[in-house]
Structure formats: C-alpha cells, structure tokens
C-alpha cells in the first residue's frame, strides 16, 4: 500500500508541466484560483503556456507578468467587482500573446465533449458570433431535422490545476457545501483533462473524507497529484476557509498592476 502516492509538493507538481502545454486554471474570477500552483509554474520557469480558463483573474495576471503565456483562451478575464485585469489588457493590446476569446458555451461545450468522450457537441450557442469565428468551428447538420448546428470539438487540456478545500492522500477531493457559484466547472475541467493536479487547504485522512462523503466531487482515480497548500488560492477565496482578500486585490488595482506580495507565497 502506498497511501501517499498522490501527495507531492508544489515544485514536484510544477515539474510535470512542460513548456508549451495547454493548462486549464480552475476557479472562477476571484474564487478558488490555483494561485500557489501558478506561482510554482512561474518559479519553475515555464514558458509558452496555452492558458485556458473559463473566467480568469489574478492567475492570468501573474502568468502574463512572468512572460509565461503563449495564448489565453477564456470567456472572461477580469477582476470582477475590482474591474479590468490590467496586465492582461495591456498584453492583449501589445500583442504579447494570442487572445483566443471564447464564448461561455463554446469553451464549456468543448470541455464537456472531452469529459463525455464524444467527438463533438452540437449547439445553437454562438451562432453568428465573431468570437466563435476565431476558432473556426465546423458546423454539422442534424441528421433528423436537417437544422445546422455549431459542432464543438473536444478540448482536452494537457493538465488542469485546481484549488479546493480538502483532499485525502489517495486523491479524493472535497469542496464546501453548499458550493460556490460555478463550482461545477472545476469538476468539468478536471474530467476533461489529460492530467489533474489539485492544491488543497487541507490534506485529511481517508476516514475523514468518508465521514462526509456528500462533499466529495472528484475521486482519486480522476486525480493525479494533490498538494497541501494552505491559503493556496490567496488572495482569491477558498470556502469554507477564507473569503477574497479585498485589501490585497484593491492594492493591486490601485497600483496599476504592481505585483508586490501577490507574486510571493501566501501569508499565513
């Protein structure tokens, strides 16, 4: 028995990500962002990453600042109630990386196709949109009605990075309940990916996981590595451990994008 099989530290996790990989960053806007795993990628000097995230924020800012980004594929990049993401916007305007904007459905539909193991997902969503045209999706005729649909191909990230509440050494991952809005996208992105690394506020025993099984949202066989990272999503939230650090994000915005402490390990 090897109970610690999946438990590694952040630098070991970062070693398994390669230059040029397609990396999905979990969390949405200011919630559950895998900040400490992002910092580990930056410390490891990863470059040319194809960044994918449903709704990106500070993790994109750090990666852009570090020059680690080849493209950003997202339905949103911003700081929520704190406004635009200054480094992302400046990087797009300067042509520093490819701005692969997605619509919500087209990004999540592609992840769904990957997680379902199907060749494409037909949808009406995004019909006529120039944002969809960026991706050059094919269309498909419904063999029953003859109607034409957008055919979303699967998107399988090389790796998905998440931050969650707690996990066991065996890789069972639990989240707070009731869950935050948009929590299920993290699970989807994990199940779509080739490999999954989850940072958690707490590593707990298998018995502790089994004591509240209704909180389990990813199973050990779906997770490749777990990393104990208390406050690893700081300054974004991690329920039930802590809320968004408004002061830290406010300082970042008012300084016009000075990374300051955001680039460093989280405060305890």
């Amino acid at each position: 028995m090897a109970p610690n099989l999946k438990l590694v530290d952040a630098s070991r996790a970062a070693e398994t990500v390669h230059d040029g990989d397609t990396v999905y960053f979990g969390g949405t806007v200011l919630d559950r962002k895998p900040m400490e795993l992002t910092r580990a990628l930056i410390r490891a000097g990863r470059r040319d990453l194809d960044v994918v995230t449903f709704a990106g924020s500070l993790e994109v800012e750090l990666l852009v600042a570090a020059g680690s980004v080849r493209s950003v594929a997202a339905a949103y990049v911003g700081l929520g109630r704190f406004g635009p993401a200054p480094r992302f916007v400046a990087g797009v305007k300067a042509g520093m990386f490819d701005d692969l904007e997605y619509s919500e459905w087209s990004l999540l539909g592609r992840l769904r196709a990957a997680s379902m193991g199907i060749p494409f997902l037909p949808t009406r969503a995004g019909t006529g949109s120039e944002t969809l045209a960026i991706h050059d999706f094919a269309s498909v005729a419904d063999p029953y009605s003859g109607d034409t649909y957008v055919a979303l191909p699967p998107l399988q990230p090389d790796i998905t990075l998440l931050h969650a509440w707690r996990a066991s050494p065996g890789g069972h991952v639990q989240i707070a309940f009731p869950p935050q809005h948009l929590w299920d996208i993290d699970v989807l992105a994990a199940r779509a990916a080739n490999r999954v690394i989850v940072g958690v506020d707490q590593i707990v025993s298998e018995e502790a996981i089994a004591s509240i099984p209704e909180h389990t949202r990813l199973f050990g066989f779906e997770v490749d590595m777990v990393v104990e990272l208390p406050r690893g999503s700081w300054p974004t939230s991690s329920p039930p451990e802590h809320d968004v650090d408004d002061g830290a994000i406010g300082a970042y915005v008012s300084s016009g994008g000075e990374l300051g402490t955001l680039n460093l390990a989280r405060p305890s």
């Binding site: 339905a75 993401a85 701005d99 919500e104 459905w105 087209s106 999540l108 006529g128 707070a176």
Partner: protein, 263 residues
Amino acid sequence: MTASRGEIADLMVVALARMVAAGDVVGVGLGTPIALVAALVARHTTQHGVHVLAGGALDVSGGVEAHLRDPRDQRSLTPGFVPHLDSMDMAERQAMTLQFLRPAQIDRFGNLNTSRIGVRSAPAARFSGGLATADVPALLPRVIAYHPDHRPRSLPAQVDWITGSGRGWAGNTWKAAGTVAVVTDLAVIEFVESRGRVKSIHPWSNASTVGESTGFELSLPEDAPPTPEPTSDELETLDLVDPLRRRDEEVPDRAGRDGRTTS
C-alpha cells in the same frame, strides 16, 4: 429637463422589468445589478410565476443583498442551488426564457459587443469578455439589452466586434428571437426587421436628442410616447429589493451632458 443617476437607474430598471412576461424564467449574469434588480422587480410585481436564476441560486428572497451572500448564508432563502452546467442546459432547452445583457456596443441588428474595440491582434480596447453574450441570443426565446450611456459610440451603425449576433436562431427544431429591444438612459428601442424603432422616450429626453445620440437611423415616430415613470408600487418594490441602490453603480456619473445631468 435633467435626471439624476438614481432616476435614470430607476426608470431603466422598471422599463426592463415591464418586459418580463408571465411564466418567464430570467437568467441573470455576473456583475449586472440593473439586470438583477429588474428581474427581482418583475418577480415581485408580476402575479404570474416569474422565476429568477441568479448567482447559481433560484428565487433568492431578501433582495439584491441576499444574492451577494455566500451560498451557506442563503439557507432558508432559496429553494435550491443550480449547478452552472444545469443552467446552461436550461438555456439550451429554453426552460430559461429571458436574459438582460449589458453590451459595450449595440447596433441596429441588435448585435452585441462585449469583447473589444479595434482588431483582435492589437485592439484599442479589450473588455473583460462576453461570458454568455455570444450564446444566449441563439438559445433563449429572447434577450433584451440595456445601455446606460446612450451615444453614437455605444449605439453605432455597426458594432466593432460581433460578440453576440442579434439575429437569434431559426430552424425546424428551435426558434430564438435574438435581441428584441434595448433600454438606454434616453429611450426604449425595439428591433424589428433589422431596424431600431423607438418605442418610448424617457421624460428627460426628446426625439432629437435620441436621434442625435444614435449612430444608426431610427424609426422615430414624432409622437413616440414618454416612457411611463415608475409607479408608486414599483418605487416601493425598488426600495424593497435594492435598498442600497446597487443599481445606480451601472449608470455613469456624467454631469451636464445632453440634459442628463447626474449627481
């Protein structure tokens, strides 16, 4: 005649809320307080079972502030939480029927831009992104836009970038009307056959201001009626659902322009 920021927000909200029909299930996106307040006002003032799905929870009681709470603090305020992928499916199968969208630009086709100004490789402006703006006009039976800063740049002849097509979707299996109307700080405009038609003009504005502030040709009847002001019932409901006036945050503070003096 001038209007305060609060008067503009109030009239925009009630104009949107009045377009909600019996049985509508209204989806509300992130960071759009006017959309949220309008949906909540419609739910409170309509007797016909309007439902509001916002922030992953259905029919949260307690107004805007309750919607901003952590889900753990919404116990006893909502019948339940809706996973996001479930809400996507509700839209695709039209169990969700309406959404209010707030674009940076909207044109005479009802096309919506929430993405960028200029070319993609080197834009002059890049907004935070459209989330479902591209998607819902082709999914839901209808979408209604709003824009609190009516000027030619916001309502141009053609949007810089079509994030969401106003055209909707028509086939043998489904029909989606696309963008049916836009409520601005000056007027209510309906989109009929790729043309904007002024339905009503807000009390502080007039036909020539609306025309000069719009980048495309409008069908603008000389006798376009004034947008009815909020009733006392509607004002009471506004106070109930948004006592801290979060709805005002979306209206630009822009003193002394076009008779829309704000304070």
